[in-house]
Symmetry: C2
Subunit: 150 residues, 2 copies
């Protein structure tokens, strides 16, 4: 259930991160009305392109709860989550997402993820990155190996 105080907390994290030299994004992951993990964008500090606020909050919750799956959680994010974070949250089965500033509201600041999302929507042969499916012969198909061991 939406509680504005958590979105306010995500925005405060974003503001604090800017004051610390980071990008203006914060995230708060909530379960049963309690904060279980938070994150800010750490890319400037660590060079890690994946160190987005939401992704870090998901990873910290995975570690804390000792499970990849986060059913029943709610992500409060200052900015509309990028496709990388959206895909991670779909895989983690995050229940709800609330965000304060949309891609559109970030556009004039260069803080929008529409470009990446537009790429992902294209067939792989038409994306900016050259992506090629290669055929290779191997003795043990890794998926067969995996299916045998399950």
């Amino acid at each position: 259930m939406y509680d504005e105080k958590f979105l306010r907390q995500a925005i405060e994290l974003a503001q604090e991160n800017v004051r610390n030299g980071g990008r203006p994004f914060g995230a708060v992951l909530v379960k049963d009305g309690e904060v279980i993990a938070t994150g800010v964008n750490e890319t400037n500090a660590t060079h890690d392109i994946t160190a987005h606020a939401e992704l870090l909050a998901v990873r910290r919750a995975n570690e804390q709860l000792q499970t990849p799956f986060l059913e029943g959680t709610e992500m409060y994010a200052s900015g509309q989550p990028c496709p990388m974070c959206m895909a991670a949250m779909h895989s983690a089965k995050v229940g709800k997402i609330y965000f304060a500033y949309s891609y559109e509201q970030g556009q004039s600041y260069g803080l929008s993820s529409t470009d990446v999302l537009d790429e992902l929507k294209k067939p792989i042969g038409e994306q900016v990155i050259d992506i090629q499916h290669k055929t290779i012969d191997v003795e043990e198909h890794p998926y067969e190996l995996w299916a045998d061991q399950k």
Copy 2:
């Protein structure tokens, strides 16, 4: 330029990971004909839903090269990268991607990312996760704060 030995290495990493109790995915990131980072899927071992082979290889390359941007690199992945990893590689400006097994080839093993990709293609109001854009009044807009400090 495509070199089959790196794709073979990615598949060998995937096979080895299965033998170690992991999922059948490996990745090798190459620059100027040299391997600069590798990864395997570590989700089973660490519970980290984001610990995909390609994402880990990207993060390790970010750390090693001390930059979020990986222009001129080529990712060799045993399986077709999921949308999370694709988005990360777009953001990191990875130059090329070669993969051995497509989503379609992984489908019968439950090793396909078409479900998540299908979600991302939908408008946010129609995705499985309930996603809501909330309006909130704050004194300092974090994007303005960021723009002022750049």
